[in-house]
């Protein structure tokens, strides 16, 4: 009898599970430990601030965010993705920082019919031939940010540029994007190990190649290592340094201080963008976490806004995947960087800005917008995507 009761109870529990699906469950799989943690923590904190601003209810639904640390390891990330699909039954997974992890996780998440909204990684593969009905990117396609600096460097008339990036998918995308708009000679194209500490060997080669400008894509700790060593090698001021926003964003600037002053870089967002939502975001982020938000924090916030917009549009019905997908794809996102629309490959069409590293009025080193390089810029891979 007891056994029957237990069976009945567990059967009821199973029945009860779908009812709980009205709660919006979001898996936040991001990098919370190790050298890449600064990026993941900013995404998480930015996302959390947006949930707080929405009163704990994204799209009017009770929102539960389940955090997990991928340790910047693809195998760990895939394991966590599996857990989010099978055990936690989340409707949306977000948080991914690194392109190689995004590529590794997508089959598991798409197979489990779970929406995967990237707040950062925007690999070319997922924008082009391997675009996926379950994958969305709320931030950018990797190449877009690099294309903007490529155009700027080209317009400034540099003729012999030295290129460096880590040897992983986003590194390849980055330099490809730069070269799409920069037409001058390439003095050297160097790929280094992901997580490399010491760049002395590469800097010696760079000096010997005598370029007239240097373009580097080094996010996170790699950027800090590189910028410090670039200055110590006597190259700062001698050879102009350029990079995407990832190499010169807030997480790096507070660690390298004045070493990066004057460097021009690009991003889809900047802390000084002039709109009401962004002003509130920057002020509230500073008040809550005691630091200037990075672009990663803004992307975390925008990702939450995208989920909020889409869930509102479907009236909180999270079970109809096709409707939710249509709502995500057609969202006119009122983001921290103005209105953003999404292309057929689920990547944003948006402005890319040129920024300069400056010392703010309060003495903090930060970025200032100096120009709009691209207006409503689409990525270069959308034509290869079979989704229409």
């Amino acid at each position: 009898m007891t056994r029957n009761l237990l069976t009945l109870a567990s059967a009821l529990a199973l029945l009860a599970t779908p009812a709980a699906a009205d709660t919006l469950k979001i898996g936040m799989i991001t990098t919370l430990s190790g050298p890449g943690a600064g990026l993941g923590i900013d995404i998480r904190d930015g996302f959390a601030l947006a949930v707080e601003h929405a009163g704990g209810k994204l799209g009017g639904q009770d929102t539960q965010v389940i955090e997990a640390d991928d340790q910047q390891k693809p195998d760990v990330a895939v394991g966590l993705a599996n857990r989010m699909v099978e055990r936690d039954r989340v409707q949306v997974v977000t948080g991914v920082v690194w392109s190689n992890l995004a590529l590794a996780m997508l089959p598991t998440l798409a197979g489990g019919q779970t929406f995967f909204i990237s707040p950062n990684a925007g690999p070319s593969q997922l924008a082009g031939a391997q675009c996926n009905p379950y994958f969305f990117n709320a931030a950018y396609q990797n190449d877009q940010i690099h294309e903007a600096v490529g155009k700027h460097v080209q317009d400034e008339g540099f003729k012999k540029v030295y290129l460096m990036a880590p040897n992983y998918p986003a590194g390849k995308d980055g330099l490809a994007g730069f070269k799409r708009y920069y037409k001058g000679a390439v003095a050297g194209e160097v790929y280094t190990q992901v997580g490399q500490l010491d760049y002395a060997a590469e800097l010696a080669q760079l000096k010997a190649a005598a370029p007239d400008a240097v373009y580097v894509f080094y996010p996170g700790g790699m950027g800090i290592n590189f910028i410090k060593q670039y200055e110590q090698a006597g190259l700062k001021g001698a050879v102009p340094l350029f990079g995407p926003g990832f190499s010169f964003d807030q997480d790096i600037l507070s660690a390298v201080g004045e070493s990066a002053l004057g460097v021009k870089n690009s991003a889809q967002w900047s802390p000084d963008l002039d709109n009401a939502a962004n002003k509130t975001f920057v002020a509230d982020f500073k008040a809550k976490y005691g630091r200037i938000p990075s672009m990663y924090a803004a992307q975390g916030y925008d990702t939450a806004l995208l989920i909020d917009t889409a869930v509102k549009a479907v009236g909180g019905n999270l079970k109809d995947k096709d409707k939710l997908r249509a709502a995500l794809a057609s969202a006119k996102l009122q983001s921290l960087r103005g209105e953003v629309a999404f292309n057929t490959n689920h990547y944003p069409i948006h402005n890319i800005y040129l920024r300069e590293v400056v010392k703010g009025a309060d003495g903090a080193v930060t970025n200032k917008t100096v120009a709009t390089v691209f207006t409503n810029h689409a990525d270069a891979y959308v034509k290869d995507c079979p989704m229409k």
Binding site: A37, T192, A201, M222, I224, Q232, A233, D251, S254
Partner: protein, 304 residues
């Protein structure tokens, strides 16, 4: 590639080697004498860097901050040894690995709580921020300082181990621990001293690395793997081995990164050559380790 560039790359390799030696010396001593696998060695490297970064603005002097950070790190080592590690000496290596891995997690979290998750600021002192002209070669002054400090530590360790009574006990402990205990040496004190010395050296490595590298949570684990490669190549428990292994790894890594992409460029286009060269260069030190172990399974200068 001209001669001057080759000299510069040689100096770079030497400097990376010296940095690794500071880490490896402590790790190999602790392993060789105390028979303790200390995965948390990188933690003391991180602590050294963070303490230096925190103390520079307070003391307004890099050398003073560095000295204070090294002493404090050694002191922290003494405390950790007494509180957490003393009970582990009789346990097998797997238990030690688990416990010291726990220490890594604990200290990483602690540093994150105290200093925040974002990497913090530490630049070289103004006097060493620029470059030095070495016969037409402009070399970063701070890297020369790292080289000098590393070589000074090598001489200090040699004097300590070859010329003092403590050094004699350390040598004896590395060769035959049971005999040293049987002769009535206060092993507990010796172990505490050796561990604190190792931690102090790791702290020094961290303090010297801080101005060149990102001072961030998890920085210790990045260098720890290289350090283990060094002591395995050099022979566990041997300071001489640590020095030889560190210089060898530093050279092979740097020259691999400098020369392999250039070599590949002779047979393929630039982008592929760079990618293939980078991939092979990152393997080079492990290939070196495999070769050394195939020829000398106990490393270059085994202590036992």
């Amino acid at each position: 590639m001209d001669a001057l560039l080759l000299v510069e790359q040689g100096l770079n390799g030497l400097q990376l080697g010296v940095m690794l030696f500071l880490m490896a010396a402590g790790l190999t001593l602790v392993f060789g004498i105390m028979d303790l696998i200390n995965l948390a060695h990188g933690t003391f490297y991180m602590v050294g860097a963070y303490l230096t970064a925190a103390l520079v603005p307070v003391l307004d002097s890099f050398p003073l901050a560095l000295a204070a950070a090294v002493l404090l790190t050694a002191l922290l080592g003494l405390v950790v040894e007494a509180v957490a590690l003393r009970t582990l000496y009789r346990r097998d290596h797997l238990d030690q690995v688990l416990a010291t891995f726990g220490l890594i997690l604990f200290f990483n979290e602690l540093v994150k709580i105290v200093f925040g998750p974002v990497p913090i600021f530490l630049n070289p002192p103004a006097a060493l921020a620029g470059t030095v002209d070495l016969f037409g070669l402009k070399y970063p002054a701070f890297r020369l300082a790292i080289l000098a400090v590393g070589l000074a530590v090598a001489v200090f360790l040699w004097l300590l181990i070859a010329r003092t009574r403590v050094g004699m006990l350390i040598r004896a402990g590395a060769t035959n621990r049971e005999m040293v205990m049987a002769l009535g040496v206060d092993v507990r004190l010796l172990f505490g001293l050796v561990f604190a010395l190792g931690c102090g050296l790791a702290g020094l490595a961290g303090a010297m690395a801080g101005p060149v590298l990102a001072v961030q949570v998890g920085m210790g684990e990045q260098i720890l793997i290289l350090t283990f490669v060094v002591i395995v190549i050099g022979g566990i428990g041997s300071i001489r081995g640590a020095l030889a292994g560190a210089l060898l790894v530093g050279m092979v890594d740097t020259l691999g990164r400098a020369l392999l992409p250039a070599a590949f460029r002779l047979v393929m286009d630039a982008a592929n050559a760079s990618a293939a060269g980078a991939a092979l260069a990152s393997m080079a030190i492990y290939v070196l380790m495999a070769v050394v172990l195939a020829i000398k399974p106990k490393g270059l200068f085994p202590a036992h």
